[in-house]
């Protein structure tokens, strides 16, 4: 157990102080807590009195939490802050995923890690940083074992590491970038317009009735635009593990962004089998969503069978989620050992049923990447857009690409090398 400096939390100050500190911790964990709320909370506690800890908890929660997905984090911070000193030790141990010498009595719960980080700020051991390596000029010679496909399939459940404060900040940044101008589609519904081509007879006649049957003008409608759906197929096999976690955070952000221009976001993970994680990405604490998705997706970091998984998707899901003209985001490195003919066939079918097929491949981050692997050669002809996607920067570029209907990314360059 490493030594930690004692936390700078006041021992017996006034309640006001304590609540202010508590609000700060909440803010660090990502809850939107402003000074106005703190004042409200202090007043509320005074009004409610100190009868029991439970009342105190609910009083504070009523003041500080206004979204269901924040409840878990709030509960953890509350427990940490107001209750149990031994809990602190447990949290300290939790912060050491790499050198876990302490025998954990239980696994980390959703929100715990964020709570711990918020409170233990500045005294934490090294946390795995989010991969923020941009597309900068210096070429790093990486000997990356993730380029080798695992030969034996390892089916096991893996708990996604919980999201850290830093990652949430990143995800939010991406989110801000993601209010992207998707190309809207014309729907069959109409909206009033002076330049439309269809006559709105009902409206025209009602207007005429107001003038005693005299028609002043014809009311017209034009097609109302609608937003396309987004379908995400994310590879979570071993060769993609570092990367797919980040992408899942990103997906969680996309799925919960209201009005980002996507009607619906469907998400699937695949490795050795296909899993639908759409529901887990909806309105939940990020940690809880990822943990649930982790339980669903049994093959985290196993091998890859892209062809078989795409086949399963085409057979079971494609008609259910692509019926309304969806944009498909395929996130995989394309390293697949199955029969390339079958893979090519499935890719073709996927391409035919999608409005647009975008392939994000983290391998593109290496200079001089060439489409040598058979899987990549089989898939490349069937995508509309081929882009890198290994960092925040490239995901931002993706947002930009989505707004250009003719963007093909790196596809042309690589097709020339086939």
């Amino acid at each position: 157990m490493p030594e930690y400096a004692p936390l700078d939390l006041p021992e017996h100050p006034k309640l006001t102080h304590n609540i202010t500190h508590f609000a700060r911790a909440l803010r660090k964990a990502g809850l939107p807590v402003g000074p106005g709320r703190v004042v409200d909370a202090i007043r509320a506690v005074e009004a409610a009195g100190f009868t029991s800890q439970r009342d105190f908890f609910y009083t504070l929660r009523a003041c500080f939490v206004n979204r269901p997905e924040h409840r878990a984090v709030f509960a953890q911070i509350f427990r940490l802050y107001w209750r149990d000193p031994r809990y602190m030790e447990h949290m300290m141990a939790m912060m050491l995923p790499a050198i876990r010498g302490v025998q954990e009595e239980r696994a980390a719960q959703a929100g715990e890690k964020r709570a711990a980080e918020a409170l233990l700020d500045g005294q934490q051991p090294d946390l795995p940083e989010a991969d923020t390596q941009g597309t900068d000029e210096e070429t790093v010679i990486e000997v990356d074992a993730s380029l080798t496909i695992s030969t034996e399939e390892r089916l096991r459940t893996l708990d996604f590491e919980q999201m850290s404060v830093a990652e949430i900040a990143e995800a939010k940044r991406m989110l801000a970038k993601l209010t992207l101008p998707v190309q809207p589609l014309p729907s069959r519904r109409g909206q009033p317009s002076h330049t439309g081509h269809r006559i709105d007879a009902r409206k025209t006649l009602r207007a005429a009735m107001r003038r005693g049957g005299e028609m002043r003008r014809i009311h017209l409608t034009k097609p109302r635009p609608r937003w396309p759906n987004l379908v995400v197929l994310c590879d979570i096999s071993g060769s993609m593990s570092q990367y797919s976690r980040m992408v899942l955070h990103f997906l969680h952000a996309v799925a919960n962004e209201k009005g980002a221009g996507w009607a619906k976001v469907h998400a699937f993970t695949f490795g050795t089998r296909l899993t639908n994680i759409t529901r887990h990405l909806a309105t939940r604490d990020v940690d809880a969503a990822l943990a649930a998705a982790g339980q669903e997706a049994q093959d985290w970091e196993g091998g890859t069978r892209i062809g078989a998984c795409l086949h399963a998707f085409n057979r079971d899901w494609s008609r259910r989620v692509m019926g309304q003209g969806a944009v498909v985001l395929l996130i995989t490195d394309g390293l697949d050992r199955d029969d390339p003919g079958a893979l090519s066939h499935e890719m073709q079918r996927l391409h035919l049923s999608a409005r647009r097929l975008i392939w994000l491949n983290p391998l593109l981050r290496w200079e001089g990447f060439a489409p040598k692997a058979t899987g990549i050669r089989a898939m490349l002809p069937h995508v509309d857009t081929f882009r890198a996607g290994h960092s925040i920067a490239t995901l931002e570029a993706l947002a930009e690409a989505l707004s250009r209907p003719d963007d093909a990314g790196e596809k042309a360059r690589l097709m020339a090398q086939l």
Binding site: R188, R202, M209, G212, G213, N314, R319, Q324
Partner: protein, 301 residues
């Protein structure tokens, strides 16, 4: 008179040549008894639409069908004014001189000029009792219509600004079907009794085929059903439904086939498989292999 037990429901449907399993009969019975809409989901051609027809004719009710499509809106689902007639009426009133502006409105927006669409028809009293309202392929509409439907199905009334509110004297028997080309919203499903209509087993499919294509010889029916059942275990993009089985049997009858052979199958494959990929899979020896399997399964053990 609605049936008073699950068995009675099953028998009633059987009287209409609709053979269904106990699970489906239970759901139908409950939906009639509780007055809840019935939400049937399943692959194409498993008999979702048929059940509404069978119910309507068994109960002696009128069947009102609303076929959904993308962009379906209230004017094609509930009511529409007959604009052409209204325009003519305005012109006629002008020609005869002395248009009374106030009364014109009252004259033009009356039942006479109202075109009733399926949802409104279902709320009108019908001879023989509340009609069966079939909302077919709900997944092909969009979410705004779904939200509208949610409201319409909860109180069975429609408000027309010029005429006021029209309320159903007794709620219609509502059956919704979906092919799952889109996931229907949970809120709508919650209001309904849900049933996933699956492909029938071997014996039941034989019964269905005998009810629907009684002129087929029993040996041929058995072969047809065994082949289709075997086909459904293959990895196909679109598995053949019961409707395809019946179609195929009728095709074979039209060709005077008495027994299946690989050549006959190759010639009539278009009746059961509707995707080129699937048809290609069955070229050559594959069809023969499945046929042999099917025939082997028919041998008395």
């Amino acid at each position: 008179m609605t049936p008073d037990s699950i068995d009675a429901t099953q028998e009633m449907l059987q009287g209409q040549d609709y053979i269904c399993g106990r699970a489906l009969a239970t759901v139908v019975f409950l939906s009639l008894r509780l007055g809840r809409p019935l939400f049937l989901e399943g692959e194409a051609g498993v008999g979702k639409t048929e059940i509404a027809k069978a119910l309507a004719s068994a109960l002696g009710r009128r069947l009102i069908r609303l076929q959904c499509y993308e962009g379906l809106d209230a004017s094609s689902a509930v009511y529409e004014w007959n604009f052409a007639e209204q325009m003519i009426a305005i012109r006629a009133a002008e020609a005869s001189g002395g248009v009374d502006r106030e009364s014109l409105k009252d004259e033009l927006f009356t039942e006479e000029y109202l075109i009733e669409r399926p949802l409104l028809q279902a709320m009108r009293p019908q001879p023989g009792g509340a009609p069966v309202l079939l909302i077919d392929e709900l997944d092909r509409t969009d979410e705004p219509f779904e939200a509208f439907l949610l409201e319409a199905l909860s109180d069975f009334q429609v408000t027309i600004p010029e005429l006021g509110t029209i309320k159903a004297p007794e709620p219609p028997i509502v059956i919704l079907t979906s092919n799952r080309t889109r996931e229907v919203h949970d809120a709508l499903k919650r209001r309904c009794l849900y049933h996933w209509v699956d492909y029938p087993g071997f014996e039941r499919e034989i019964e269905i085929l005998q009810a629907r294509a009684p002129e087929a010889a029993e040996s041929l029916s058995r072969e047809v059903v065994a082949f289709v059942q075997a086909l459904r275990t293959e990895d196909l993009f679109k598995k053949p439904g019961v409707a395809e089985t019946i179609d195929w049997a009728k095709c074979l009858l039209a060709l005077d086939v008495i027994s299946l052979s690989p050549e006959v199958i190759a010639d009539t494959l278009g009746a059961i498989l509707k995707y080129q990929d699937d048809i290609q899979k069955l070229q050559g020896s594959e069809a023969k292999r499945i046929l042999d399997e099917a025939k082997a399964s028919l041998e008395p053990a």
